[in-house]
């Protein structure tokens, strides 16, 4: 396993897209969080905002870059046919997949931490100007606050789970554009499905089952009772999706012929 890890790390390190995409995770998250923070205001009339969640809203954008990073990690090899070289050099394909997952997780955790810190910082700088002040009873997000720290840490983990899910899906699909379509569908379109269902029971169940809805519940710090499931349980749902995708990918990659 050490050799697979080292090889995959060298690959990730020497692919020029990696640095770009990791920067994109940070920049997109921080920029989107800043944009959200700049456009909300806390007026005397109403200020029913979940402030930490506002500060982390940019992750919705940053997760796209995480997904692309994960998709490229696999489809870049299938698209060029280099996957044959990879599997000839490392015939234990399950280990290759595990090594890829490990490297990707590491990179995502690192970039995700920076992205979350940058987002919170942006929100801290911008929100007070829009009425979110400690004096007004709506302090800007601070990592010294327990629930906010939990939301921030959970968001980093969420990004890692999205990366793992994308990796599994891309390994199963093999084609770059199709994999991105599938992942975008799961991240952005699937969360809409619960809204299309009128029956409250089904609605709740579908909400609980969608990784982006349930996973991002980890950012919630207020109105927890309104959530169909707890923040960390939600992260568990995202983890289940990631595990299922990786398991499927592992089964396929073990038995399937390597075709570019």
């Amino acid at each position: 396993m050490r050799r697979e890890l080292r090889a995959e790390w060298t690959k990730a390190r020497t692919a020029p897209g990696t640095a770009w995409l990791l920067s994109a995770v940070v920049v997109l998250s921080a920029a989107a969080s800043a944009a959200v923070a700049a456009t909300v205001s806390c007026t005397a009339g109403g200020c029913d905002q979940d402030v930490p969640r506002l500060g982390l809203a940019g992750i919705q954008a940053g997760q796209a870059a995480v997904a692309v990073l994960a998709v490229f990690a696999v489809t870049g090899e299938y698209g060029t046919g280099m996957i044959a070289t990879t599997f000839a050099a490392m015939p234990r394909r399950g280990r290759v997949l595990a090594a890829k997952a490990a490297v990707l997780t590491g990179l995502t955790l690192a970039a995700g931490t920076v992205a979350v810190l940058a987002s919170v910082l942006a929100a801290r700088l911008i929100l007070p100007g829009n009425g979110f002040t400690a004096a007004g009873g709506h302090p800007p997000p601070s990592l010294a606050d327990g629930p906010t720290l939990g939301a921030a840490a959970g968001t980093v983990l969420y990004l890692a789970l999205i990366a793992l899910f994308s990796l599994g899906a891309a390994t199963a699909v093999r084609d770059s554009a199709t994999a991105a379509g599938v992942v975008c569908g799961v991240l952005y379109v699937l969360p809409l499905i619960p809204r299309m269902v009128a029956d409250p029971g089904w609605r709740r169940l579908l909400w609980q089952a969608t990784p982006a809805n349930a996973g991002l519940a980890v950012q919630t710090t207020t109105h927890l009772d309104d959530l169909p499931l707890g923040p960390w349980e939600g992260l568990g749902v995202a983890a289940a999706w990631a595990a299922a995708a990786l398991l499927g990918a592992w089964l396929l990659v073990r038995t399937r012929d390597v075709r570019a």
Binding site: A15, A84, P91, D257
Partner: protein
């Protein structure tokens, strides 16, 4: 001598297409084995099965007695070149080899060695995407040599190389074989094998049509006919007929002799004081021999074999 590669009864279908239909052969160390056959004969599929990339429906392929996928550091046992274009264009040549080296527990030093060996030292830190086909081919060969393996597998290595490159690769493969390695080289052009391979495995329609040495194949295709040019036609015919040969007149001073080796003919004519200007064993070209073999395999019909070398 232990076979380096054993291919035993491989069968594989893709849907309704039969790709491999009982492919069996062995590759021995110390020589270059040519793996030839027309496009679609199953060469690449066989090589992919040997490398554990594709799974055969039946049969097995062993490297030094073990399936490829059970090897610990496979590139140190088998070096392979499958598709030279199959690399990520944005990575430099050196970095491409570097991750491969790391996957085998090798260090960067070995990478620099093979880069020099294939003559890519000057461009090692350039993006492989900008490489010509010939440079990519060299990079692929560097990857195959990385683990200093006793077995080499090269799929169409001459493709896209300029004449200088072809000469280089011939020399390289011959020297690798001379070091005692087993070298399997596939090609759909027999002419490429002429001065490269010692042994030939000819494939057609997913199975082996002929498994022979290059010399035997040419001899077989040549039919043992010898062309004799002499001014003393009658004397020559008598002397040779007495020795049991069949002689046919081709034109005024040319005879075609069969049933006797060229050396024996020279001795006979000398003993009988028959003058001659030329004795030439008819050597079919490898290409002719191959066409004859694979025509049957390709067309797969039960016509009489060897009804002539002429094909349209």
């Amino acid at each position: 001598m232990r076979a380096a590669i054993e291919v035993i009864g491989l069968r594989k279908r893709y849907g309704r297409t039969v790709a491999l239909d009982g492919m069996s052969f062995t590759v021995l160390p110390g020589r270059v084995t040519g793996f030839v056959g027309p496009n679609g004969a199953g060469k690449s599929t066989t090589m992919r099965v040997i490398l554990g990339l594709d799974a055969a429906d039946e049969g097995s392929a062993l490297i030094g007695g073990r399936p490829y996928r059970s090897l610990r550091a496979p590139l140190c046992q088998v070096g392979a070149l499958l598709d030279a274009a199959a690399l990520q264009p944005s990575r430099t040549a050196r970095n491409h080899l570097l991750w491969l080296a790391h996957s085998q527990g090798l260090g960067a030093r070995r990478v620099d060695e093979v880069i020099e060996q294939v003559g890519l030292g000057a461009v090692a830190r350039r993006r492989a995407g900008g490489f010509s086909l010939g440079m990519r081919q060299r990079l692929g060969i560097a990857a195959a040599l990385l683990g200093d393996p006793p077995v080499l597998l090269l799929d169409e290595p001459v493709n896209g190389l300029d004449p200088e490159g072809v000469v280089w690769i011939r020399g390289l493969l011959r020297s690798l074989a001379a070091e005692g390695r087993a070298v399997l080289v596939s090609s759909h052009l027999m002419s490429e094998m002429q001065d490269m391979a010692d042994h030939l495995v000819v494939a057609g329609r997913g199975r082996v049509v002929e498994d022979t040495s290059v010399a035997d194949l040419i001899a077989a295709a040549s039919d043992g006919r010898v062309t004799l040019r002499t001014t003393a036609r009658t004397e020559a015919m008598e002397a040779l007929a007495r020795a049991g040969a069949t002689v046919a007149v081709q034109d005024r001073d040319t005879l075609t002799v069969s049933g006797l080796e060229a050396g024996r003919i020279v001795a006979l004519l000398g003993a009988n004081d028959v003058p001659f200007s030329e004795v030439a064993a008819h050597r079919a070209s490898l290409e002719e021999a191959y066409m004859e073999l694979t025509r049957d395999a390709v067309e797969f019909r039960a016509t009489t074999p060897r009804d002539g070398t002429a094909t349209s």
